[in-house]
Symmetry: C2
Subunit: 296 residues, 2 copies
């Protein structure tokens, strides 16, 4: 495959992937960088480096709501940028190794999070989650050894809850599958809410699939603990006010074309820190900044 | 059509109607009583009365979450019960007249509610509603004369938001159509939330389509006024703890059959009075009992 074809195919794969969580997307991007660093046909080290770095930037820009993508690719670009005087063979080796290294770090962070979560969750707990997260799926894989049960949401319009259902069914976990609108009925039936997130903002608020804020509101209103499970690379320097929340195609809502009616499809919402009981990352349980309640 | 066939067809029509709000369902039930009171082939007044009263009870029991159905049919049964000494012709006349009378009262109450709502809503307001309500559709029909715009929810799994979209499109109201999961993003963009409800319980909490509690939580959290629009016959003597929330067929969720996975489809949730800014009925704006916030 030509350089430009490979790059475009990799970008399209991420742009069209509306079901994977941000850790998985970062993995796919790093794998694309690893593959491209080897198979790029450019032979001049400066051109090779510039082309690779430009590809990394474009990968980063595919999903602006995902801090892990920004952070991981920044780290990767800095590493290869520091090697700008190396020869082509060395450059290829550094680019490939750094991508693999970052993937391994992410895998390790996730294993550590799973360990923390398993220590936290008691036998026979009912765990509710919203949307899909590779971190949460890893937690369930380990938690399946305890006699826990699950409540999961459909997560319209991508319906990634159906994928979660398949995974939990395979793991033999007794699971109730609900529409997003039933969150108010089912969060109170859970012992704990666990969600993965796309980004943790500078003020401690979290960006995740639309509906996460609703889940957190019910958890807060009913006294149900609400934990965010996310590796530290998901921390963003951005503030709530400057965050761009991606909107996807309206066709996903399957609404008939009607005059005056505009279907909206914003994929992410922001959950304020004051509603979050804690952030579990690879270093343990972190407390987010807890602003005072707004309207009380 | 035979008596038993007519009755079963009427009951099925209501049982299978998952899209109409409770005022519409009460209307359909009253119309069935009006029609049946005329066409019943029973000739003995005592048998006629008992059969009609039994049919009314069965209509009432089709939708236990709907106070208006219970209240309206109670009133109708009391009226015909008081006439048990009348002859057949008189009985038929009373049964028919009382059904028509109750339908007219409901229509008038709705007109008065629309009038109250129109006084409340300023020009250029953005109004958000969840699910479908004939009262709210009547409000929009009148509000279309002001330059208001709307935000409406899909309302899974019945998707009655699609019906609302058709009505608002026809009225020429600029409308944003969102998934239920996007409520946290769009309630803050509204000036006011208006919902119809199925029942107002003794403690001031309201029973309505699942997702209403989520809508009210966001409204409360973001300081957006949240009004319930419902005729006074929707007041129930029941308390939150004794209310039965109907669950419909899981097939509506369209989830593939998977071991260990149970799709749940509870149609209604309960919104506590403390989250509700006011109840607009035919007499004006009522204040619901405001319990203190629970977890602050």
């Amino acid at each position: 495959m030509k350089n430009s074809q490979f790059k475009q195919a990799s970008l399209n794969k991420i742009i069209e992937d509306h079901q994977s969580g941000s850790a998985k997307i970062a993995f796919i991007a790093l794998q694309a960088l690893a593959d491209y660093s080897v198979q790029s046909t450019l032979t001049d080290p400066a051109f090779y480096l510039r082309d690779l770095s430009d590809f990394a930037l474009r990968l980063q820009q595919t999903r602006p709501s995902m801090a892990i993508l920004a952070n991981t690719i920044d780290t990767w670009r800095q590493a290869i940028g520091r090697s700008h005087k190396a020869n082509l063979i060395t450059l290829k080796r550094i680019a490939l190794d750094k991508a693999h290294d970052l993937m391994a770090q992410s895998r390790l962070a996730n294993e550590q999070i799973v360990h923390q979560v398993c220590d936290l969750i008691a036998d026979d707990s009912v765990i509710l989650t919203h949307s899909i997260s590779s971190t949460i799926i890893s937690c369930f894989t380990e938690l399946a050894k305890k006699s826990i049960s699950a409540i999961i949401t459909e997560s319209r319009p991508g319906n990634e809850g159906c994928l979660v259902a398949e995974r939990l069914s395979h793991l033999g976990i007794e699971t109730q599958f609900i529409t997003d609108a039933q969150l108010g009925l089912f969060v109170p039936k859970a012992d704990v809410v666990l969600v993965g997130v796309d980004s943790i903002l500078a003020d401690g608020s979290v960006v995740n699939k639309a509906g996460t804020y609703l889940t957190a509101l019910v958890a807060y209103d009913t006294g149900t603990p609400f934990y965010v499970c996310a590796e530290s690379t998901k921390q963003s320097r951005k503030h709530n006010v400057s965050i761009h929340l991606e909107e996807m195609g309206a066709a996903e809502l399957n609404l008939a074309d009607l005059p005056h009616i505009t279907p909206r499809n914003i994929y992410f919402d922001v959950t304020p820190a004051r509603l979050i009981s804690g952030w579990i990352n690879e270093y343990g349980m972190q407390t987010l900044i807890n602003e005072p309640p707004k309207h009380v």
